[in-house]
Each structure stands twice: as C-alpha cells, then as structure tokens.
Symmetry: C2
Subunit: 414 residues, 2 copies
C-alpha cells in the first residue's frame, strides 16, 4: 500500500491530509495538489519486496508507490508495456543508446490508461459506483474501457466534433456518452455541472491529484526495463502537463525512497502551434495559448491546467523544451512506422519528432542514454497520414506496380 503522507498545493505549498480537498481551497483550480508518501514506509516496503522480486505484470506491481490499498479486482491489464531498442532509430537520431517506450498497446491504446486505472481504483476504494469526465479522446476512452472492466458506471461528455474512432470506442464501453452541442469547453462545463448534480467521481487529470500518480508507473517500468538504471534523458510530448509531471514524480519518488541517486533530464515537446508550457519554461510569461493549432489533438491544449507541475519538472531536472511543426510530427509517424512498426497518433509521435529536433539543436548528445515515450496508437487517428501520399494507386497490371516502384529491377526483393 502507498501511504499518502500529505497532499501539497503546487501553488502555495500548503499541506493537506488525504481526503480533505481535491484542489487547494485557497488557490482554487490553480491549486493542484501533489501527493507525498511516507517515504520511510516506502523504503521498508521496498526492503521487504524489492522491485526485482515482484511478479505482478501490470501497474499494480507498484502498489506501494500508488495512493491505494489494493488493485481493483478484474481490471484489464494496464502497463508493463514494452521498451524497445531499434538500431534504425539509433541511426536516424545519431544516438547510440535510444529506447522507445510503447504505450500504444495499453487496453484502450494510450498511456492515459495508467491514470484512469488509478483514478478508478481510488473511486472503487471510496465506494463510488460511477465516474465521469469530459474529454475529446484518450482520457475518455480510457476511462470508459477500464471502468467497464471493473463494473463501475461511466458518464462521458464529448464535444460535437469528437473523432470517430475515439467516439465509438467510448460508446461501446461507457454507461452513457453525451455528445454536447458545442466545443470541448462546453462539454467540460456541462460535465462539471452534471458531476456536481449526480455526485459522480471526477476523473479530471489535472484536478484529481491521484491520476498523475498512475502516469508515473510508466517511468517506474522504464527504470526496471533499463536494468535498474536511470536514463540521461526522458522525452515526453506535453499537452496539459500531466504526463511529464507524472514521469518526473516517478524519479523523484525513486530517489526519495532511496532506490536511486539521480534522475533523468526531462525533454518537453510541444507543437509549434500550441506550446504554452515550452514558452513559459523558456521565456516566462503566461502558460496560455490564444489559438491552439496543431493536428496533434491530444496535445492541443491552450490552457494547460498542470503547467506548474510540468515547468517544475523541467526546472528541477535541468531539462529542456522544444517545439515541432505538424510536418515534423507527421514525418515522425512515418519514420516510426517504417522503421519500428509502432504506429503512433500525432501526439504519440511528437516525442520522437522533438528528440530529432533536440539532437539537431545540440541539446541531446549522441553518447547520452535516451528514452522517448510513444503515448497513443495511430489507430485512434489514422487520417493524419492522408496528406503524405503514401498510398500508390495502381491499375491491375504488373507494369503499374513497376512504375510505382520507380522501375526497380526483377528479383530485387530477394
């Protein structure tokens, strides 16, 4: 069990006991809380059961790093996703030791499953029967999928323009999905009202402090998969700032528990058309973006609610931040697909695009050990590749094939 010692406001540092508040009463929605454990207790528990000796093959392997007493029975397998090392990616990036963490193979197809799993576990422990959120995509489908697996009701609010794959994945699994006649903000407002009205459990990653704890399991796995060592860099696509905060929290917790004595530098990647966290980190100013524009919908967040935790992760880790164009993001999907077989959605490939940019800019060095996250499956947004002209339209004759191959000779394939 993870013994929660306190919840600390990221804005004013006031400390609370568990269960007092979801956000700081003084700072309001700006006062997002951070979970602190009893690290002596965690040390004891690691002495009794070292990571190396554990057999649970999902995120609840790290139960003592999580704010819950027990895994919810029956939940789909979340986490323990593969960490791959591809020669081709080393060639392309020029980094000799580079790893891809493939979170596309979680049950709902994204890293968000780690957060939802913990949110649901907490809701179940609190005796809740229903959980709700507003989202355009991965958070919602993840919530619907995992809630269904443990028999919890789920109520999901999506904007009118929700993309088809995500919408029907939600529709298949949620108790009820409401398509709100309006934009994301309208869906969010209506969800908030309905959550108050019906007393559903609020799965909103930035507001709910426990969800970031779930995300951190990704880096706990990386640490184990690297043979119980820490990489030099961890590369993370950033939207509302929850994923990067979670990864940094993992390494801080490992240090606090006496398991490690160093942590990686965090590299934040945002889209050129929506990079409030990068701007705030690099130049100060407001973490707001007036007109978010990028095809990477999962990181198209103009008002990142968790920017404080994200910027702190960058500062504390001696990290860096880059932006990438939509063109670079889509090219990264193609490079990943062609050379690894991992099919990413745009936000999912942004980390890889950002890594290439950071190498070009001299931020990441060829002899450093680097891990980049692929956070979501391309099957959730397959249309993003349409513009790339990857499909060769041919007639029914073999000469058409020859032309499309660019006149390559016979037997070339063997």
């Amino acid at each position: 069990m993870g013994k929660v010692a306190a919840l600390v406001c990221v804005k004013c540092n006031r400390r609370f006991e568990r269960g007092e508040y979801l956000t700081c009463p003084d700072c309001g929605l700006e006062g997002i809380l951070d979970v602190e454990y009893d690290y002596d207790d965690l040390r004891d528990s690691l002495r009794e059961s070292p990571l190396q000796s554990r057999h649970v093959n999902n995120i609840f392997r790290y139960q003592d790093f999580l704010p819950l007493t027990q895994p919810p029975p029956g939940m789909l397998k979340v986490g323990m996703t593969p960490l791959y090392r591809f020669e081709k990616i080393a060639e392309i990036t020029g980094i000799s030791e580079v790893y891809l963490k493939d979170d596309t193979v979680n049950p709902s197809g994204s890293l968000k499953d780690r957060a939802s799993a913990v949110g649901i576990a907490v809701a179940v422990e609190e005796g809740r029967r229903a959980i709700a959120c507003a989202s355009t995509g991965n958070a919602a489908s993840s919530l619907a999928v995992l809630a269904a697996s443990v028999g919890l009701e789920s109520y999901i609010f999506v904007p009118a323009a929700a993309p088809e794959a995500k919408l029907y994945q939600i529709a298949a699994c949620a108790t009820k999905v409401f398509r709100v006649d309006g934009a994301y903000e309208d869906a969010f407002d209506l969800a908030t009202e309905a959550i108050d009205r019906w007393g559903w459990y609020n799965r909103n990653c930035a507001i709910n402090p426990y969800l970031v704890e779930g995300k951190k399991t990704c880096s706990l796995e990386i640490y184990e998969q690297l043979g119980y060592t820490v990489p030099d860099w961890l590369v993370v696509p950033v939207g509302d700032g929850c994923i990067i905060s979670g990864q940094w929290k993992a390494f801080k917790d490992l240090e606090a528990a006496g398991v490690t004595d160093r942590s990686p530098r965090m590299l934040a990647v945002q889209a050129e058309g929506c990079s409030p966290v990068v701007r705030r980190f690099l130049g100060g100013g407001e973490a707001r973006w007036a007109e978010p524009r990028t095809l990477a919908d999962s990181i198209r967040v103009g008002k990142p609610r968790n920017w404080r935790k994200a910027v702190r992760a960058l500062e504390e880790s001696g990290g860096a931040a880059v932006t990438v164009s939509d063109e670079e993001i889509v090219a990264a999907i193609e490079l990943l697909g062609r050379h690894t077989g991992v099919f990413a959605e745009p936000a999912g490939s942004a980390g890889f695009a950002g890594l290439m940019r950071a190498v070009a800019d001299g931020i990441v060095k060829p002899d450093e050990r680097v891990v980049f996250l692929v956070t979501g499956s391309g099957l959730k947004d397959p249309g993003s590749l349409k513009s790339r002209g990857l499909v060769a339209d041919v007639g029914r004759g073999v000469s058409d094939v020859q032309r499309a191959l660019g006149g390559r000779g016979a037997g070339d394939g063997t």
Copy 2:
C-alpha cells in the same frame, strides 16, 4: 528449435520434406500442407525446458513448437496476451467458468500478428529481404507492422475499398502499399503476379503452411494460462479457416508431445451471410458462398482456402458450428465493451455472439469450461457501432443530461 519432420498435404496426404513445396504439386492450391514435427525431439526439448519454467514473454516462448531456428531479432512483442475471467460474462452466458482471450492488444491489434511473426521469422531465416501479401485488412497491417520492426521490406496490395484505419496503419509501416483499382480478387491476382516477378516472400496464410503454426501459439498460451489444463470448448470466429486450424493444431501438438491427454471441442462461428465452413461441416456440400454478406469484414470469405483444415478440426475435436446474424455480432461488441472494456471489431466479437447462440441451442452446457477468442480490435473498424444509437446528443444544459439519463434522480451515481 522446432524440428519439422514433414509437410503433409491435407487433400491427398502425400508427404514432403521441408523446402520442397509450399503447396502440394498434385493438388495445386487445394493441396495445402500441414506441418508435422519430430515429436520425440519435441518431447526431449520439453523435458529439458518445461513450459512452466520458461521466461520468454512472447510467442517465441514456444520456439520448439514452431518451424524456425531462432526468433528474428528486434521484433515487436507478439502474443502472451491476457486471458480474462469476467463475472459479468458468466452471468450473461450462464456459463460459470468462461474466459476471454484478448488478442486485440497485439502490436497491430489482431491475432494475425501471430501468423505474420512466424512468416517473417521464416522469411528472415531463408535470407529473404522482402515479403508481400494481398489483404483487405488485418493480415496486411500485421505484416507491414512486424516486417518494419525487423527491417524486412514489405509490399502490400489492397483493394480500392480498403477501410481507412487499416489502410493508413499499413501505409505508415509498409515499404509500399498498392491500392489496386478493383476488388480484393484483383488485388490478390496482381499481388501473385508481382510476387512471382520480384521474388518476394509470399505471406498468404492458407498457401504458406508456416503461418498457421504461428496462430497456434494462442492456444498454447491458453493452456498455460488455465494452469496447464485444457478447456472443454474453444470458440473461434471463422473466415478462411486458418485461425481455427491453428488452435486445433496447438492441442494436437500438445497431445503428440505427451504434454496433455485430451483436447477441447472446437466451436466454429461464422456470419449468417457468409458461412461456407459451417455449411460444409453441418451438411456437406461445397465450402463456397456465392454472395458473402456481413459487416464482419475479417470473416467475410466466400472461398475459404483453408476449409479442409477447419472442417477437420471440427470433426476431429467432436466440435460444433453455429452462425450469427450481423445484429447479434454488433450486439456482442456492445456487450463486450460494456461489461469487459474489451473493444472488438465485428469479426472479433463474433465468437462471443456464437457462444451465446450455442448456449441457447444447448450445444455448450453451463458447467463446461469455455474460452472464446477476441481476434481483433474495434479501433480498426469503429464505424460498425454507428447504427446502435449509443451516443446521446444533448444541448448544453443539465436538463438535457437528465432527459438522456431517463430521468434518474440526483445522487444516483454514488
């Protein structure tokens, strides 16, 4: 290593050595070959390394059951997918011990990855540099994805009407995807011509005898996951007949190697609008279907090339066969989603639909131990749920939500 003793024609029973032919020269494309191992050798290898003691966490755990010398380096993790037992599914089916084998979480999102992995492994061992196939869907995306991961070129031929999610997954990962101006048969013919012309390795499941061997790993896992026991029934959606043949082969191999002394009965499920294998098994006659009609595209196969192996699996296992309507298939997607969180494509849910039918017909009894396969992810064909009216369109007021909830009272969620 799996020592292949012989390849046996399923039509005339003539025996060949490995490498002589891909199909029987006397029987042509009807003469599909079946792989026989040196079972004394397999017994020795199991004595040296019992299944229980193995640590490899992918299908190459079963290397001695496969026609290859070594796993291809760098391949994405295929197999070792979860086997779930959900109370709700027991309630719905009335079967107290029923398990769901979730193959939607393979790298490309379907069970076909098991076949492609072995096809690619064999191609790599033979020194091939390129592999090709024609397909509308899962076989092609699986081939493109896994070939990319090991640096093998892939050439994929799809019909003009290929669905978007599968098309762009292929496009991201394949060396080249050709969209042929015509139907599946035109794509198939052109692929065959191009394969001859350029000498690419032929990944065609029915023709290539090694691919069914890959599929069999699914049942080897089930055997292990059930605590080294055999279920009473295995429920399998059937298109060209390769998946059910592979599952049956797994249990036959386990018996031949002296590991087990019984095998499950196989339950074949096809769509009402395309059930040539079921018809052939139940009533004899031709295993052909003039006008295949079902929304389950992955099992919409009017001329199943592997019907002989499939019918033999049913006969030898004392099995049974049922058909289900498209309505039942889509209802099964919804039931699975709502009560397990596993989001299936139509062909993927057909097994569950068929199980419910078989229980209703008294074929499967409530006290029997049953496993059903979910063969492909719903993200590959999310539109199949459109007709179900699962999405509640609402305005921006909480009264709209109340109406959509059917007037449920406040606080009901907690």
